[in-house]
Symmetry: C2
Subunit: 404 residues, 2 copies
């Protein structure tokens, strides 16, 4: 039997670690021959664009390198399978690829959109009487997948965001004049990553002084009032703001991707202008942009190790005969931090989102409660010992021409 693995959705620091998990676990199983990597997510399965990973990843050192490489070494996609009752042409092509290549299990590393693919493809294979196991392996820096305690990739993003926010706190407080700094953090609908920056409070930092997440209603009037209040207490006020907070129309660029997601940008600079107009103080906005999802030079070892482990668990799940399932984390304890890997139906995760619980947010809706920090902190612990070359963390890559 051969297996295939693909990576989908937006990059994180941990997607390749999950690939390593699948790959390493497969190496232990004598009945698995080839491990195919599908190029650009499910598109590679549709177009039979597969590469034989056993010819690419030859050494343990390369696996280590892959663990410290951000993004998706096999490329990614944002591709939504049609309803099979309406148009099953892509399904047919995928099944043809799988049958021709003798693929008995397919592992899809991705977010809630990818779990939609897992659910649909698994249903299709069953309907066609094909014994091919389709397993989802979660990932997203947004941490917004249901069922699982947290998502692979989130811990590394949170560690980068918190460490960078800490540095921004130093940077913004140097001058004698009062200032406001607005840090825009990813999160369309869920404020997990923005909220996680509040772990700095456990280091005795007052920053972030204000935290705005999409789970709470946002009002410009209240925002200005909040900022003024914090300015009375602190010379340099730092606000963490989710890209997805609801502000008046015209701010968002309006570009929409294949899943109907609006591509957001400019909320930080929008609020910067509001503060300049209304308060008139020194103000700066900072967009953490793609750095928050790809800065593997400061990844969380906990996240990378867990991401590898959940990839490996996916393989065992398929070998146990499961399909249409997603491997998930269940937290047993914050301290000592203990998690268990279980499985859930892809249907429970596909196309759904998990939001910050209201009790993690303060009553005023402008900061994060201490209780939430016990949830976040275990996820950002530990660092990798990076393999460096020329003073720069090294990456594992596959020749560009093979990915075309």
């Amino acid at each position: 039997m051969n297996i295939a693995v693909a990576q989908s959705g937006g990059p994180t620091c941990a997607i390749n670690a999950s690939l390593v998990g699948v790959f390493k676990e497969a190496l232990k199983v004598p009945e698995i021959d080839a491990v195919f990597g599908s190029v650009n997510g499910i598109e590679g399965m549709i177009n039979d664009h597969l590469i034989d990973l056993k010819t690419m990843i030859l050494t343990n050192e390369q696996m280590e390198l892959l663990r410290q490489t951000p993004s998706t070494v096999l490329g990614s996609c944002r591709f939504k399978l049609a309803d099979m009752n309406e148009d099953d042409s892509d399904y047919q092509r995928i099944l043809k690829t799988m049958q021709q290549r003798q693929i008995g299990a397919f592992f899809y590393i991705g977010g809630n959109d990818s779990m939609d693919t897992v659910q649909k493809l698994s249903a299709y294979c069953k309907a066609q009487g094909a014994d091919i196991r389709i397993i989802g392996i979660p990932k997203t820096i947004d941490n917004d997948l249901c069922v699982t305690d947290h998502t692979p990739g989130f811990g590394s993003a949170a560690k980068y965001v918190a460490a960078t926010m800490h540095e921004i706190a130093r940077d913004s407080s140097v001058y004698s004049i009062p200032s406001v700094t607005i840090v825009e953090i990813m999160g369309r609908h869920a404020g997990w990553l923005t909220a996680s920056s509040a772990v700095l409070h456990r280091l005795g930092e007052s920053a972030p002084h204000l935290v705005y997440v999409p789970e709470c209603e946002f009002s410009l009037e209240k925002f200005i009032r909040d900022v003024r209040q914090e300015m009375a207490k602190h010379k340099a006020v730092i606000c963490a703001v989710s890209e997805g907070i609801e502000v008046p129309e015209g701010v968002q660029s309006g570009v929409v991707d294949n899943f109907g997601h609006k591509y957001l940008s400019g909320i930080g600079s929008y609020l910067e202008n509001i503060v300049r107009q209304e308060i008139g103080c020194k103000v700066r906005s900072i967009e953490l942009n793609v750095m928050q999802r790809c800065s593997s030079h400061l990844c969380s070892r906990t996240d990378i190790d867990e991401s590898e482990a959940i990839g490996a668990a996916g393989v065992r799940c398929a070998l146990n005969g499961e399909t249409g399932k997603v491997v998930v984390f269940r937290r047993l304890s914050d301290m000592p931090y203990t998690v268990k890997i279980e499985t859930a139906d892809a249907a429970e995760i596909a196309n759904r989102e998990k939001f910050l619980p209201r009790e993690y947010i303060n009553a005023a809706g402008n900061n994060i409660q201490d209780a939430a920090l016990s949830y976040f902190l275990p996820l950002i612990q530990g660092e990798l010992t990076m393999q460096m070359s020329q003073g720069i963390p090294m990456h594992f890559t596959i020749q560009e021409t093979l990915l075309r």
Copy 2:
């Protein structure tokens, strides 16, 4: 005798290391009693706002923490002393502070503006017959100071920029469609930091595919032509662009600081829009913003060690009776990398800028020559073993109320 030290200008990762250098060296000298920290640069000297550092920095562990803390622990300023022949009131106040506090030497860690202060203050003290030594210790991520081979703070900024550019290269190449990514890097007039991102070529990376620095004339027509040419060769084209390249008016925000520097912003997003209009492909701009100057979590150990060493050398320079001088690096060899610390007249550095040599830039003015990389590479070598707390690099700070 007491001494005083102050920090000025924009933050870097290495200004506190130079402070540690001054402090540690002073501890070795029996004739130096108090080491005063002047709050907010020269403003602290004018307003007699000094803190006794020996009561703040008590342990070697705290000195280590300070070495890994970005920005300026004593605060900073952008304050230009008037011509003393026109208005010497601030000079009088500084001299009064120095005499009342029995300060025999003053160390000013800063850029070319601060070296203007060193020059003027030293001339004033001499004219007043006051034997107070005024010594400049260079710093700037811009690397644009004359005489010195390079500036403390530059190596750490360059390491962060290159490592992040490497990660952006991974992040930007995941989808199957062609894309352009524009990375905006600090540098008003000099392209050193932008150019340093080309060290990635030594890791076998094709990114950055295009590099634009203020030293070369910039044309939008040529830019679009360059991008199209690179798109023919690479799926994901990455451009490194200095904030200071000359583009048509209306892009810059026009805010001007005390030294007449224009505050630049938006060149990346301006070019993003141009690419969207002219080429119509997927395009993103990324501003590395303050992260490039404060991301001490990925500082260069070479930079931090050298910054400490040059601070210490400043103290020895003052003890040798020098004044109006700046400590500088002279490079003896790229490989093995060897530097020597010497002194130069502040007048040679004050208010001047050093630009990228033309031979570091390719003939087309859109990339960096390999020869330049031998200059950059030694500066980004090595990492600090970070002291961590809660999964985040720790910082050394002084109570906010003491700095007010």
